[in-house]
Symmetry: C2
Subunit: 448 residues, 2 copies
């Protein structure tokens, strides 16, 4: 990897105190790459390299760093250095930073901030976690409806470099209400004398400050825009959200889905940042619930002890049967949970989906049962009735798992909960009990 | 939901043959919403509504439709209608469409396309599936290095509306080699007399036509750009990829990860489009492999039959133990697989991660073992030795699952395979056998 070689080279330069060359190398690099490289350096060297960067580059690199890196760096910075970085960050990056920091640090920063700006920061910090308000930026371009295209372009020429995006510009009336938007593409291709109010699009897709960031991400996915405006209850424009910020949100939300499906309470932190205790805390609740639910299986087995005493061989197939049921159920529930998440299926599709999975179950169950029968009866040479019993149980378990795996996530979503809760771990536990009931139920019929 | 009411209203308008009102309603709607609404109509009504749209709107709606909807619509269109849509689609949308269609259809389209364009289409259709080349568009803005900013802006004014994006413009020399890029933001804020070659950024992040689309998505995530240029082996600019197209790729890649982690062969199709047979085909291979691997557990149990005959109660804890091991392992492997996918951990972090999971395992294992012991000994009143045996097995299984769950995905990735293969289903099967060995091994020590 290129960056790894770069790290070695930098370390060599620091070791041989050739800071002049290091400075030149640093200045030639891309900010995202630099942020990544810095992960491989300790606090002291990170600060050393960071201080070498020209101001603009250092701001960019800082914005690309992980929260953990930033905290390390901030701890070793002087107050002045920190203040100067905060002043130059884009507004939403600064808010993110403040949200990550301890309260004492935030108060220190606020004390040094002009009163007007302090009010805005405070407002932002109060939006609920994960709301559109908490991730928006106030640095958008706003145009007046009675301006001409040329006036708008002149305005952008002056202020464009300080805004998060200039590609979508928003039009407000004097009461700050959102009237419409124009894209910079329109502005550069339209007649310079045209009026903004005549060319703006008024069919604005917007989000509310209190909307959940996941709904915001869905809107970006659906409409494919580069930015969306955020309005308050009175339809006043309060900020915008850009596509690069929402991509981070999407990644985080997907990680949450993965974790919830593996029976883990989601957390916002990077894996390397989490303490062992917080990792354990996020995982224990579901492990406990699932372990205790699984004791139901002990009860079922105890009830059929008399069959096991007669046919002890039956015990040896229990793990294979329960694994197969769990795997089949996990397939269906994962497919359905994901399809619900990205809108491939709707709640009203429930019976279509269940019926489809049921038919998949018939095919998969038959194939697995036949393969298993051949193995048991012809290869391992188990008795005919035992081979038939195990194979029949496989068929029934697979069929049942497919149906439950499709049915439970949709029902849970209908009830208003996160369908990801019905993923493999939970499904396996439910299927396990049902498999045992089928197994011993069939054993009673076939073997006696 | 708003759209559902809209669907009902449209159906009512069609039913009462009030097509004038319907047409007005359709024209007022957003194209993404229209595409979604059309999912609720049959072929005939879809075509009816589609034909009401003004040309521009219908092209947009078509681009937003699912492949399945498009196929339905195309089947009922006349050849002329189809040709006219194809001509107006953005180039990459047209290529997507052609890739989805049967060969006979593609040949029919190509026969009616001018020879020059046909050559380009053919080139595109030959890029490997999932490569950068297959998702790029050739409709980018290219500037000459010796132009002034004003000349560039004039050029964009003329051709801007026909390009996929104008926000990043690329600078090529006369041999088509990529020299640098300028953003439209720069162009509108710079001095109109400045030369493009003086203001362009030459530190270009680019991708190769043959790069995998997943690597392209990673670059978008890392650098946060709105578009990336695609170059061929000779560093000639062949196309660009825009952020909205890559967002679809990301969604698809994430779905693949989800499916592979649930032991399903990934497919490109929507759930509702897949036939029952193809669903079964994607799921059976792993189910078979896992079922046959799981028969290892039968061997282990048979080997320890003599212990079960003495203590038949031991059987009843097998499913609970194997579920707990499976769930714990699934947690670790999911966390590690996801952290690898989004770059939170690197291959070189292997020992840090394994050690961390081992410590999480000590905490989680202790809590689960204690809770289990209390339940068995004090509540269910099992004998002391049995309660101790089961609890001790839980502790060892949890510890082992955490270590295996962290270790296996990283090793598999080191070997060059997809770590998602080491997700819950596979881990459960491995853990199951190990759990049984520990259980009966400890039973021999404790009970005899």
């Amino acid at each position: 990897m290129d960056l790894e070689r770069q790290v070695k080279y930098f370390k060599h330069l620091i070791g041989s105190k050739d800071l002049q060359t290091l400075k030149q190398e640093v200045e030639d690099m891309n900010s995202a790459d630099l942020a990544e490289i810095l992960e491989s350096f300790d606090e002291r060297d990170t600060l050393l390299i960071f201080r070498m960067m020209p101001k603009d580059l250092s701001i960019d690199v800082f914005a690309y760093m992980t929260p953990y890196q930033r905290r390390l760096l901030i701890n070793s910075m002087t107050d002045d250095e920190l203040q100067s970085i905060l002043n130059d960050l884009y507004f939403d990056d600064m808010i993110d930073l403040l949200e990550e920091m301890p309260a004492s640090f935030v108060n220190k920063v606020l004390a040094q901030t002009p009163i007007e700006e302090r009010k805005v920061i405070n407002e932002f910090l109060m939006y609920p976690d994960d709301s559109a308000g908490s991730i928006m930026t106030t640095e958008y371009v706003d145009l007046k409806p009675n301006w001409t295209v040329q006036e708008a372009l002149d305005y952008i020429k002056n202020i464009g470099m300080t805004k998060e995006t200039v590609y979508t510009c928003y039009v407000k009336n004097k009461y700050q209400k959102l009237l419409g938007f124009v894209s910079l593409r329109q502005l550069v291709t339209e007649n310079p004398k045209a009026k903004i109010e005549d060319i703006m699009l008024t069919d604005v897709i917007y989000v509310d400050t209190l909307d959940d960031q996941e709904d915001v991400a869905d809107k970006f996915n659906k409409y494919g825009y580069l930015a969306l405006p955020v309005v308050d209850q009175e339809h006043r424009l309060t900020g915008i959200i850009t596509v690069d910020d929402i991509m981070d949100v999407m990644e985080l939300e997907t990680t949450e889905d993965f974790h919830r499906m593996a029976a883990i309470e989601p957390s916002d932190k990077d894996y390397m940042e989490e303490t062992v205790f917080s990792l354990a805390k996020n995982r224990l609740p579901w492990l406990l619930i699932l372990m205790i639910s699984a004791t139901l299986t002990s009860g079922i087995i105890n009830k059929y002890n008399w069959i096991i005493q007669d046919f002890i061989i039956l015990t040896s197939f229990i793990p294979m049967l329960s694994d197969t049921g769990g795997n089949t159920g996990a397939q269906s529930s994962t497919v359905v949970i994901r399809a619900l998440a990205i809108g491939e299926i709707k709640l009203s599709d429930i019976w279509t989906v269940v019926f489809k999975e049921a038919r998949v179950g018939v095919i998969a169950g038959s194939v697995l049962a036949v393969v298993n029968f051949i193995r048991l009866y012809f290869l391992v040479r188990e008795p005919l009735l035992i081979s038939a019993l195990v194979s029949l149980t496989i068929f029934c378990t697979v069929e049942l798992s497919k149906i439950m795996g499709a049915f439970l996530p949709i029902v849970v979503k209908k009830l208003g909960f996160d369908p990801a809760l019905m993923a493999s771990s939970f499904i396996s536990t439910v299927i396990d009990s049902l498999t045992l009931v089928i197994y011993f139920g069939l054993a009673r019929l076939i073997l006696y």
